[in-house]
Each structure stands twice: as C-alpha cells, then as structure tokens.
C-alpha cells in the first residue's frame, strides 16, 4: 500500500495531493504539462522534500514532516522510478545495468510492517545458491521482456523500445516496493507505447506492487490505470475509476482536461451547462438519450474514420463559441444546420461543479457511496496482499534460514 498526503512547494505554486494506491493497483496521474505530476512522484521517490505531509509505503513511513520527523533517503526507499529517458548507465553493459541494484549498497534497512519488525537482508554477501537464484531471475526477467539476447550489448546499441524494456527489467530486478512511471513512453510511437504499457500492466499485477503512471495523454492514462487522478495546477481535482472520471467529471475543469471540447446551456435549467464530448455524440435528435443540439456547422474536417464538425450553438458557453463533435458521416457544407444528440452529457452548475442530472436522479449520491465502499474493500484487499504476496517476505525467510 502506497499512501501519500503531501504539500510540495514549487517555484510557482504548491502541489497538494492525497493518494492511496493498493498493491497491484495502478493509479494514473493525469493532467496538463506543469500540473505538478512529476513533483508528486519525486516527493514519493524522495528526490524532493515536501513542506508538509506523510508518505507511507508497505507499512514503512518514508516521509513525515510532523514529529517524529522521518525522511528516508532515496537509496533506502525501494521505490522504482522510470522516466521518459530510460536512464540506463551508458558505461555499463545491459547485464551490468540489470544487476546494478543487486550490487548496490542498501544494507539492512529496517522495515516495519504492521505488528512485525524485520530486517531486510543486504544484497551483498549472498551465498552461491543465492547468486544462482539471482542469475536465474535475471534470465527470466530479461526473457519476459524480450531482451534476453541483448545482455552483453552496451545500452547505446539498443533501440528506444529496447532501452525502455531494459530499464523496466532493472526496476523489476531491484524488487522495488512501488513503481513510479513518469511519462516513460511519451517519446515512442503509439504501437510500441501500447505494447510496453500492456507489459507494465501485466508485470505490476504479477508483482503485486502499487504503481503510479504520470501521463498528459488521456489515452495513455486510460490504457494503464485502474484509478485515474486528475491533477491541475497542483490540485488533485478528482480521483476514481477511469471511465467514471471521464463520463462523470466532477467539475468543468476536469471535463475540459478529459476531452470535453464544448459546453452548451441546458434548456430549462438556467445557469447550468452540459459538457459535450466529441466522441459521445450521435447524429440526429434523440431526446430520450441526451441533450439535443441544433446549429449551423462552422467548420468541418476529416478526423480518424469519421468527420469532426464545429457547431455554432445558440446556447454555447461562452456565447459565440463552438462545440466540436465527431460524426460518422460528412456533415453538410459550412453554414448548414445539423442536429446531434450529446448522449448522457454531464451537467455542471453555475459554480462549475457537477450537478446530479435530471435524467438519473440520485446518481451522484450512488456514485459517492460506491466509491467509499470500494475504497474500504480495496484497503482490505491490500492489507491481505501485503501479508500474503510480498516477495521480499519469502526472500527474508530464505535469508534467515541460512
């Protein structure tokens, strides 16, 4: 279980966030560039010190600003961080990179888990059997990640994708208690990005560690996450399952960030506006399914397999702005009237916050109850997993048996 509740000062603003990630769970921190996502990761990794707050990982307190103060240095945190630059050591072969953590100096870190206190056995001074086991693990991880044949190569020889695989393998072999991914694949092409994301998802599930991905592309965040946290200008705006956050944004700002490209006044509800997501629009008027919008086409262009049209709506917010929608068929020429239905559009009150929409009364409350129940269930699961699945536990047992 990874818990962070921190305030970190940046030059221009303060990042305030409280997140909880259970083992095996994947949280995506999603927000625009410069929102403070990386700062939050760096605070968890111990690279920046929060002004205020607590960070806890697998029962260990890593950072606590209240007394007694705790600031575990990065080399004792057992937190893996992967950045856009894979950060392989250029002077070491791929094999030496992968085994770097095994030969690192972390020695006898005290670990407190619930009621138990145990000492992690230092990586140095292993017996031959342990060395053999480590070698087998190296081969296994390298083969899983498809870099088994590249171990003798120098990192500069590897392609971008291979370098990322090697960096990931290095983190896995370091047996980190948490995996932090800072937009690791944003420089790669879409297909490779999908492959690597799927690989990370599989490995995180297998290793049962908490993982956090920082993303500024919604699709990347959705492909990865079981929980989506939207962050903007240092503020955590909404956290929840990805589909719920996207379909039910808590505020206009979250809607803007999650791809709602226009807002329209809701007839009969003065002061409220509905978020129009270009992908959730059907051609034609279907009052039973959502908000029916009619207006002239201001511009249109091909987009993906369909067409994208900007529609000038009388009730658009701010007035005079257009609403962008995607249609399967090419709309009429500019200026021609078009009628579309924004299906199940989220509705926001004058304060910019979501309101329970009239079509499904009580839905918001329901969602809130769901969320609370889910958190409790997740924490239970996590506690259990902490006890049962921590691979370090097994290794400790082995070490003590010698």
């Amino acid at each position: 279980m990874l818990k962070a509740d921190v305030e970190v000062d940046r030059r221009d603003f303060t990042v305030r966030a409280a997140i909880t990630v259970a083992p095996g769970e994947r949280l995506a921190l999603f927000g625009p560039s410069g929102a403070g996502k990386t700062t939050l990761l760096e605070a968890i990794a111990g690279l920046v010190l929060p002004r205020h707050g607590t960070i806890e990982l697998a029962g260990r307190i890593l950072t606590r600003t209240s007394k007694p103060r705790v600031a575990v240095p990065p080399w004792q945190r057992r937190v893996g961080l992967l950045r856009q630059d894979p950060g392989l050591f250029p002077h070491l072969s791929v094999r030496a990179n992968l085994t770097y953590a095994r030969t690192a100096s972390h020695d006898g870190t005290r670990i407190v888990t619930g009621t138990e206190t145990r000492t992690r056995v230092g990586a140095r001074g292993g017996t031959g059997r342990r060395e053999g086991a480590a070698g087998a693990e190296l081969t296994e991880v390298a083969d899983t990640l498809g870099i088994g044949s590249l171990l003798a190569a120098m990192p500069a020889r590897l392609s971008g994708g291979q370098q990322h695989r090697a960096a990931l393998a290095r983190l896995l072999l370091a047996h980190c208690d948490a995996l932090l991914l800072d937009e690791p694949y944003s420089g790669l092409d879409a297909a490779l990005r999908r492959t690597l994301t799927a690989l990370v998802v599989r490995l995180v599930t297998q290793r049962n560690v908490p993982a956090i991905l920082v993303a500024h592309e919604l699709a990347d965040a959705q492909a990865f996450a079981t929980q989506l946290a939207v962050i903007d200008h240092g503020q955590l705006l909404q956290t929840g399952p990805p589909d719920r956050v996207v379909l039910r944004p808590a505020s206009v700002r979250v809607a803007e960030l999650t791809g709602y490209l226009g807002f329209a006044a809701v007839p009969g509800q003065p002061g409220t506006i509905a978020g129009i997501h270009p992908d959730r629009v059907a051609a034609g008027g279907m009052p039973g399914r959502g908000l029916v919008l009619t207006g002239p086409v201001a511009a249109s262009r091909p987009a993906g397999a369909g067409w994208e049209a900007d529609i000038l709506l009388p009730g658009a917010q701010p007035p005079g702005s257009t609403v962008t929608v995607r249609l399967a068929a090419r709309p009429g020429p500019d200026g021609s009237e078009v009628t579309v239905t924004a299906i199940d559009a989220p509705v926001f009150g004058p304060d910019g916050r979501a309101v329970a929409d009239s079509s499904a009364p009580g839905r918001e409350d329901e969602a809130r109850d769901d969320a609370a129940g889910e958190v409790a269930a997740r924490e239970d699961r996590a506690r259990e997993a902490d006890r049962a699945h921590d691979p370090a536990f097994e290794r400790i047992g082995e070490g003590n048996g010698r």
């Binding site: 990794a45 690279l47 240095p73 990065p74 080399w75 004792q76 945190r77 057992r78 937190v79 893996g80 961080l81 950045r83 630059d85 950060g87 050591f89 250029p90 002077h91 770097y100 953590a101 690192a104 100096s105 972390h106 990586a123 190569a153 120098m154 990192p155 500069a156 020889r157 290095r170 370091a174």
Partner: protein, 279 residues
C-alpha cells in the same frame, strides 16, 4: 552528395558543378598549412637534433637528474590535484556551493594570473619570513628552493586548468543517472564511485593530461620560488644561458618526450572509452 540536377536548378544554389571538389580540396590544403604551421616547432626540433648531440647531453654527469625531479614533482602534483581539486570541481559542477559565480571567478582568476606573477606572490605567501613559511619551518620544511617549493609552484600553475576541465567533465554527467543509481539503492558516495566517476573519467583524464603538461612545463612560478632543484624547464633555461642553443635542444626533446605521452595516452584512452560506450 546531393543530386547533381540540383545545381542546374533555378533555386538559390548557384554553385556550378565542378567547383565543389575544387573548393573542398582548397579547404583541406588550407587546413593542412595551418596544421603544419602549428606543428612547426616540433618539426624544427626534430630536424635540428642529431643522435650524437642527444647522447652527449644525456650522458653528461647528472644530466638525467632534472628529468627525475620533473617526473617526481609532476606525479605529486597530479596526486594533489586529483585528491583536492576533484571534489571542488564536482561541487562547482553540481551547484553545491553558495554564490557559484564567486567560486568560479576565483578559479578563473588564478587561471588568468601570469605564472611569473604567481611565483612572485607565492614567494610572499610561503617564503621563509611569512606566517606559512614560519609554520613550515616548525615542521622543518621550507618552501623556498626545495622539492616542496617545486610542487607548490607546479600545483598553482596547473590547478586552474584541472578544475575547469574537471568541472566540465562532471557537468556532462546527467544528474538523473545519479538519481537513478540512488533509487536503485546506492549511497551517494557509492554512486559517485560507480556512476559519476566512470562517466566523467574521459573528461577527467583529459583535464589531468592538460594539468600534467602544464606542470611539466611550469617555469614562471618555478624560477622564482624553486630555482633549485632543477626540473627540466630550468635545466633548459640554464643550459641555454650558459652554453647556448645546441646544447639546450636535447633537453627540449626530453621535455617533450615526458610531457606528451600522458596527454596522448589520456586522449587515446578517453576516445576508446567513448567508443566502448557506443558498443
């Protein structure tokens, strides 16, 4: 080579075909002239030396002493620079010092001082009647016309070159690699040994090589505070003064022979290290 048709086009490229090879040849020839001119002194040295002259100069009783003195003082100087100035260069490169501009200006200041002035000021700083000189006297040491004085003079003449070079070498190491090594479990000191130092080593080697060449050739400060024991530069100077050019020339060759191999080796080694990284 771009396609030939491009030259015939009506675009802005108006260089007619055939001019490019000519201009390329001309620029290579020009570069060769400059290169030979720069190497001129070395070439002259080689043309003016005879085997007999070298043999007679070097077999003269005590002729090899300056060489030994120079090598010893140079080695001690390098050890001092590496041990003392490497941490300083690292701190400068990583911005670990308050008011970094002040520190850098200090290093540059000693780089820009003429060696003779450095020697003069050193005499006032560590001479026998100064506080430091007195302190050394208590330890039965002297920084005037001793081996210690020679080392001090060489350190002052070569240190700024080393600090500037080493700082550049450390600056070229991505701090994120050091962070990564820490997150993988290494303490900062071990990170320095396993990541920072190996990555900076080609640059450090070059900086050390330059410092070595400066130390070997140190003359201005040396002649003022360490006239004795003779190192090679002073040997050349006094020989020139007493017996003339032809007898001084073999020592010049000896100086080149001891001053150059280390820089050349460092250059070759760092080029090979870069090559290894490329795989």
């Amino acid at each position: 080579m771009p396609p030939r048709g491009r030259w015939r086009g009506s675009g802005p490229a108006v260089v007619p075909p055939g001019v490019r090879p000519v201009s390329a040849a001309a620029s290579i020839a020009g570069a060769a002239v400059i290169w030979v001119a720069l190497l001129g002194p070395v070439i002259t040295l080689l043309t003016h030396l005879s085997g007999h002259a070298i043999a007679s100069a070097l077999t003269y009783p005590g002729a090899l002493d300056p060489l030994v003195t120079s090598l010893e003082a140079g080695a001690v100087t390098l050890a001092v620079l590496f041990g003392v100035c490497t941490p300083l260069a690292w701190m400068l490169a990583r911005g670990r010092l308050p008011f970094p501009r002040v520190w850098e200006a200090g290093v540059l200041c000693s780089l820009l001082l003429p060696p003779l002035v450095v020697g003069l000021l050193l005499a006032f700083m560590v001479g026998p009647y100064t506080a430091i000189g007195g302190l050394l006297g208590h330890l039965h040491l002297s920084a005037t016309n001793t081996f210690l004085a020679l080392v001090i003079a060489e350190v002052y003449e070569s240190a700024p070159y080393y600090v500037v070079g080493a700082q550049a070498a450390f600056s070229a190491v991505d701090p994120r690699l050091e962070q990564q090594a820490e997150l993988l479990g290494d303490r900062p000191r071990r990170v320095f040994r396993r990541v920072t130092l190996p990555l900076a080593s080609p640059g450090l080697a070059t900086a050390l090589a330059i410092a070595w060449a400066r130390a070997m050739g140190a003359f201005g400060a040396v002649i003022i505070i360490a006239y004795h024991p003779y190192g090679l530069p002073l040997q050349i100077y006094t020989t020139l003064d007493q017996t003339g050019l032809p007898t001084a020339l073999p020592y010049a060759l000896v100086l080149l022979v001891v001053a150059l191999p280390l820089p050349l080796a460092a250059y070759v080694w760092s080029a090979r290290a870069q090559g290894r990284r490329r795989g």
